[in-house]
């Protein structure tokens, strides 16, 4: 295997990792602000894929644009889910019970979404055909699939926008403040419950957009969520629970780990490397790479 092959794997891994990174940022934001692990994150991603698919097939909207169009409706959906369901079980004070309760609640939600989608739309996998999905850029010895490249660029763009939102706008800073110290945030007039709703809405919107980007090169079916939810968890833990830049780096890293695993293991075991990395991080350095110390309970 030549150096060029290795670079090819790494390049593909990074491109794929970019979309993983966008997915993971959503999960990290939700966890960082609300201390909620959203099991249904993968399912919202799946719904985002379907929305983008229908926009592409029905209205000839390019999936890059479709992914962006997914943002507003999914923000609203996330906000409503928080208001109707999560807000009723958070705020109890007992962190452990709350964690269990929200995990189970979102697991239930995930089941509903996956199965309802399978019921209403057929389980047959679909795909979006774009002109560039089968074409590649040639960069020296390596080939870069155009669909993956555009998805990567859009993912990075969106992630950048999120970063700007969190660091340049009052609302974004308020989200971070509420994540740091909810009690003190309240004293400044920041309504923590509203912040939770915003965080959940943004988190869900981001993962739906990521789904739209993923749909550019990945088959769309109701069961797609389960493969990616684990990757998202690993990315977020790798980066350090609660850290947004960490989750981004984690996503890229997961893409790389997956790609590099393929060098030595068959496709079936692609995620083995990911799971082993997951366990290693949990046991050896649970605070992840960007080790943000969680608020002590």
């Amino acid at each position: 295997m030549s150096a060029a092959d290795l670079v090819q794997y790494v390049a593909t891994g990074l491109l794929v990792g970019g979309v993983y990174a966008l997915m993971s940022i959503g999960l990290a934001l939700i966890f960082g602000v609300m201390r909620v692990v959203n099991f249904a994150q993968g399912d919202f991603m799946m719904l985002g894929m379907y929305l983008t698919y229908y926009l592409a097939v029905g209205y000839h909207v390019d999936p890059l644009l479709g992914a962006l169009l997914a943002l507003p409706p999914f923000f609203v959906a996330g906000w409503l889910v928080h208001r109707a369901l999560l807000a009723r079980v958070t705020g109890s004070g007992d962190a452990q019970r709350q964690l269990d309760a929200t995990l189970i609640l979102t697991l239930g939600l995930s089941l509903i979404i996956t199965n309802a989608t399978a019921m209403i739309l057929s389980p047959m996998p679909r795909a979006i055909r774009t002109g560039y999905a089968t074409q590649a850029f040639v960069l020296g010895p390596i080939l870069i699939n155009q669909a993956r490249a555009y998805a990567f660029l859009m993912a990075v763009l969106l992630a950048g926008l999120v970063y700007l939102f969190l660091t340049r706008t009052d609302l974004g800073k308020a989200l971070r403040a509420a994540a740091d110290e909810p009690e003190a945030a309240g004293y400044q007039g920041i309504d923590v419950r509203t912040m939770h709703g915003v965080a959940f809405g943004v988190g869900v919107a981001l993962v739906a957009a990521a789904g739209g980007l993923l749909a550019m090169y990945h088959p769309i079916e109701p069961t797609v969520a389960v493969n990616f939810i684990v990757l998202m968890f690993v990315a977020v833990v790798l980066g350090g629970l609660g850290s947004i830049p960490g989750a981004f780096a984690g996503g890229l890293l997961i893409g790389l780990v997956q790609a590099v695993t393929l060098l030595v293991l068959p496709l079936q075991l692609q995620n083995t490397g990911v799971f082993i990395a997951f366990l290693l991080v949990l046991y050896l350095r649970p605070q992840g790479l960007f080790g943000r110390r969680l608020r002590t309970v």
Partner: protein, 589 residues
Amino acid sequence: MSPRARGLLPILVVLAVGVLLIFTLQERYHQRVLTLVLLWATMGLAWNIISGYAGQTSFGHQAFFGIGAYGTVLLVLHLGLTPWIGMLVSAAVAVVAAALIGFPTFRLSGIYFALATLAYPLIFRIGMDFLGYQEVAIPMVRDRPGLYMQFTDPRANGLLCLGAFAAALLLSHAIEISRLGYRLRALRENEQAAEAMGVDTFRCKMAAYMLSAAPAAIAGAIYAHVILYVVTPDSTFGVLVIVQTLVVCLVGGIGSLWGPLIGAGLMVPTGEFLDASLGDRLPGIQGVVYGAALVLIMLVAPEGLYWRLRGLLQRGRVEAPSGAPAAVDMPARAAHLAGAAGQALLEVRGVARSFIGVQALDDVSFTVREGDILGIIGPNGAGKTTLFNVLNGFLPPDRGEVRYAGERISGLRPSAVCRLGVGRTFQVVRTFPQLTVLENVMVGAFTRTAAEREARDRAAAALQRFGLWPRAHARPGSLTTLELRLMELARCLATEPRLVLLDEPLAGLGAGSVEAMLGHIRRLPQAGVTVAIIEHTMYALVRLADRLLVLDHGRCLAEGPPADVTREAAVIEAYLGKRWLHRAQGLRA
């Protein structure tokens, strides 16, 4: 009737009903549903041991289910081993797996634990796929199929599942009334308090996890032979297994003996019915219903139906205990004390402890003599509770050592320190809210005895001593502040300590209650218990303590008889500020 027998009666009744159903249900379909109900109730009971009793929610129990299923089938396939034995072998493998998985994982907390448990079944799934076992059919046995768990008569299957369910029930019941059961519930309610009461929480969690793996494996083994016939990684290690388990336990009532049966009895027939009638037109309807069940139960009744119903039926009625508690031989400590009084019991030498940028304790040294009451005072942030946390074992010191009765205890777990004879109460009372007052104190008593009867008697005697016996069957939530503090003291004393560390036992008490509490504390040395007490209500401590130790900014400022210490300039300055001191001195000059 003894509590043991009283507990067994409903079990026997339910099993009898089970047998009756097996022999009266006519249709194969109904038999099958009953079989599934029993199987999932068994799996639920298994999960309940670690996630219900111990409160460590595991999202990966399907790993053991799968080990049971695949293990038994592969043993039949490759070794021709009958699943009756193969089942036991797989269960043993599952228990070992639980030990291996639990050992590193229980050191993690909260979200990390949940995520780690998620990873293992995924790994097993991939493993099975990779090893080429994507689809393993159980080889059909023609003659003597019963030897290989291949029954043609569905009633035999029903009895098999009932047997497994019975075993799981009996195991759960045995745990519930054992010392382990009380300890698990204590650590679920408040892990730190449990540690301080002598419960080695790590070992208890490991024990519960290993115990919970065996019935899960057996359920998996039976499921493979009676329902699946062909095992795939998804049907055994897959998410649906844990979802089914969760639904059954959460709807039924987590942490209870009957919850899994109630949940299974409700949800499994519903699921099967929906699948049979609508499954063709609406694939996945079962999943939607299960998901909706999880969401609803979390919103409306997270404790589950069993507890909700029990709460409604028992509304407010708390029986007063009947009769007086049995007399118990309290160890005659006072006599021993007469000889030992004055000897150094606790020696603290040069203890230092810092947190990020803050030196919480700096070169703290003092001695507590047997029979004394030592008061520890100091302004807010002086490091008093940190000191207790170091003495108790919750924090290791950065430097220095702590010796108790001549033995070094710094660095030991709190439960070990407790077993050696050092008790602790907390600034904010830490109760086990779901346990009754009597059961709370029993957790302490279990440090000295393994027998439930004896622990109960000792706890009752302790309650009697503090005048709490009438409240024995109440929940801590309904107690007054004084009663709560007394309960915590009783629980601590049930561990038969020679030294107790009391952290602000007077906080939150009104004047009359303070006097009562002081009276109890004052009597402790006579009963052979030495006391170190942190307090802020100075006027009380001044009258109570033989010696005072003053801490400020982590350092010892003064030590000696109360009258001397409170007049010392440094102390006044620490409490009221330098300028107050100057004024006071200026006024006197």
